[in-house]
């Protein structure tokens, strides 16, 4: 048995659902193709982020002290919260897929809304963090000043970070370049995902998924989880470098 269509070809000329596209022989074939295609697309996404992870690995080894110092300017509270938020949104998305599979329209709408809300919270927190970087002159290229790493200020109630020498401090710009490139690309994926979520929400409210044609939701779920996975790696790599120091 070599081809997925073979078994279903003979005899099963049962009613085709209206949403089956003409060039597929069976619904199963259509569904499998869609999820396989989605996975291939996710592979391209892995490689897309892969370039930046390579860069990260190299520069982290070269400029470890700068990466530690850069990492310590990030708020661990905000970062952890965001991780939790994103994981939860992944969970609600998974629930959404389940609701769609079991044809629970209400549950689907609630799940999408929750996912959307959590996504917004994530982006909100992210923008707070970005704003903070802007204020602190830690945005590479546009607004960057390494002097805060040469003469670190002590936060009230906290010991000051150890100062960096000027040359190493200047290399924090590499860290922040990667920080913004990686989290920026991630956020861009989130924004695209949220656009799709709104699109799905409208269709769900109209009852477009009640007939069991939920390939779009399932594949969007894959996308959303992928975005989650990227963050799962970004969080320790960017936020958690040598917190004990």
């Amino acid at each position: 048995m070599d081809s997925p269509t073979a078994a279903l070809h003979e005899g099963t000329h049962a009613e085709h659902p209206s949403y089956q596209r003409h060039h597929f022989v069976t619904m199963a074939q259509q569904k499998e193709s869609a999820s396989f295609g989605m996975w291939l697309f996710l592979l391209t996404e892995i490689m897309f982020f892969g370039g930046m992870f390579t860069a990260y690995l190299i520069y982290r080894n070269w400029y470890y002290a700068a990466f530690v110092a850069g990492s310590h300017t990030l708020s661990i509270v905000l970062g952890t919260t965001n991780t939790a938020v994103l994981i939860t949104s992944s969970f609600t998305m998974a629930m959404g897929v389940w609701c769609a599979e079991t044809r629970r329209r209400g549950g689907l709408i609630v799940s999408i809304l929750l996912t959307l809300a959590l996504g917004l919270v994530f982006l909100g927190i992210k923008s707070v963090e970005y704003h903070e970087k802007w204020v602190q002159h830690h945005v590479p290229g546009l607004r960057f000043d390494a002097m805060t790493f040469v003469h670190p200020h002590a936060e009230p109630g906290q010991a000051a970070e150890p100062p960096l020498s000027l040359d190493m401090a200047e290399h924090t710009e590499v860290y922040f370049s990667l920080y913004f490139a990686m989290t920026g690309m991630h956020a861009l994926h989130m924004i695209i995902g949220m656009g799709l979520l709104i699109f799905m929400l409208i269709k769900a409210i109209r009852g477009a998924y009640d007939n069991g044609n939920i390939a779009f939701i399932e594949n969007f779920g894959l996308y959303w989880h992928f975005v989650d996975i990227v963050w799962i790696f970004l969080f320790p790599l960017l936020y958690l470098i040598s917190r004990h120091q």
Binding site: S165, D167, H171
Partner: protein
């Protein structure tokens, strides 16, 4: 030859007189390179002729008119194994041979004479240890291994010497090296072979291979009066390097005498051999190159010393075999810094914005 147009005739004559397949073999490595090239060309020719023979023979023998019905053949494991293993073996020979050559070209011998080269848009600046500077030309003595230490001030360039069969990219931010030993006097092409912007094709020059005596004469006639090491010494003083690196027991910086070529243990436990690149990095990015037992207090000189200045400093430190010179510098205040040598390199850092 009346019936041949004179233009065409001249062209043919020109072609026949100028025709060459390989450039002159002017270095020690050139015959070795050519031997490998010849070997590869022969193997390629054999392969190509074999393919052509097969195709032509089969096309004649089995053309439709002679052979109207094809005989279906599945394949032949033996034949396929043959043309997998034989090319593989040949390619592996080329790989080993090529790699030996590669390591030979990029591993300078210890007795090589040092010349420093800075590439910038769009010229080559060569500096001889004696302080002779030249632009878009390189004078070298015959039968003497010469090591080039290359760096680029802006974009990638490539120092290409076809007559020597060697070439090396000058890249920004890091030294690269290549060496050769010229074996034939003459003037040869020097090209920049990595595309480097508008006047890329004007970034050419000449390599002049001279007799040992001729080279000495040339050195004497084109000296600027200050050797690289002397220039480095002046920089060393004017940048106040000697404030810390003065070789006294209480010094804040490590003793630099004899440091070149030694193995250091860094503050993070890493062991490194001190070479040109290490010295350059230690000046520009000192905090990652702290010798064990010293405090990370050295400031960076990024943007304060030009690439030429760095070469001078490197050459100076290389030649420090005792602390005598440093102490002299520390003691005499007469060695005032010469402004031109220490101009901060701000102008070259300013880059074109989109």
């Amino acid at each position: 030859m009346d019936h041949i147009s004179p233009v065409l005739w001249q062209f043919l004559v020109k072609w026949l007189t100028n025709f060459a397949v390989i450039p002159p073999e002017a270095s020690k490595v050139a015959p070795q390179m050519d031997a490998l090239l010849l070997f590869m060309t022969l193997v390629s020719l054999v392969g190509l002729v074999l393919v052509i023979l097969l195709v032509v023979t089969f096309s004649i023998l089995y053309r439709r008119e002679r052979h109207p019905v094809a005989v279906q053949i599945e394949g032949s494991t033996l034949l396929e194994a043959t043309w997998t293993i034989i090319p593989l073996g040949l390619f592996l020979v080329m790989f080993v041979w090529g790699s030996v050559l590669y390591f030979r070209i990029y591993t300078p011998p210890p007795n090589a004479m040092q010349i420093y080269v800075v590439g910038k848009q769009w010229m080559w600046k060569a500096e001889h240890p004696g302080g002779q500077h030249e632009i878009n030309s390189l004078h070298v003595p015959i039968n003497q291994p010469v090591q080039l230490t290359l760096i680029s001030q802006d974009v990638f360039h490539s120092f290409s010497m076809p007559a020597f069969r060697v070439k090396r990219e000058a890249i920004p931010g890091r030294y690269t090296t290549v060496w050769f030993e010229a074996t034939q006097e003459g003037t040869y092409h020097l090209f920049c072979s990595q595309y480097c912007g508008t006047a890329h094709s004007a970034m050419i020059g000449q390599i002049v291979v001279m007799s040992q005596d001729g080279y000495k004469k040339w050195l004497a006639s084109s000296t600027s009066g200050v050797s690289l090491a002397q220039d480095g010494e002046r920089l060393f003083a004017s940048l106040s390097c000697n404030a810390c690196h003065n070789g006294t027991p209480s010094a804040r910086g490590p003793n630099l005498a004899g440091v070149y070529g030694s193995t250091l243990t860094l503050s993070d436990g890493q062991r490194v051999t001190v070479d040109d690149e290490y010295l350059r990095q230690a000046i520009l990015n000192p905090s990652a190159h702290i010798t064990q037992g010293y405090a990370p207090i050295m400031p960076t000189y990024q943007g304060q010393v030009s690439e030429e200045g760095l070469f001078s400093l490197v050459e100076y430190i290389k030649n420090l075999d005792s602390n005598y010179r440093i102490q002299q510098t520390t003691n005499t205040t007469t060695l005032a810094p010469v402004a031109t040598a220490t101009v901060p390199n701000a102008a070259t850092k300013g880059m074109v914005k989109p």
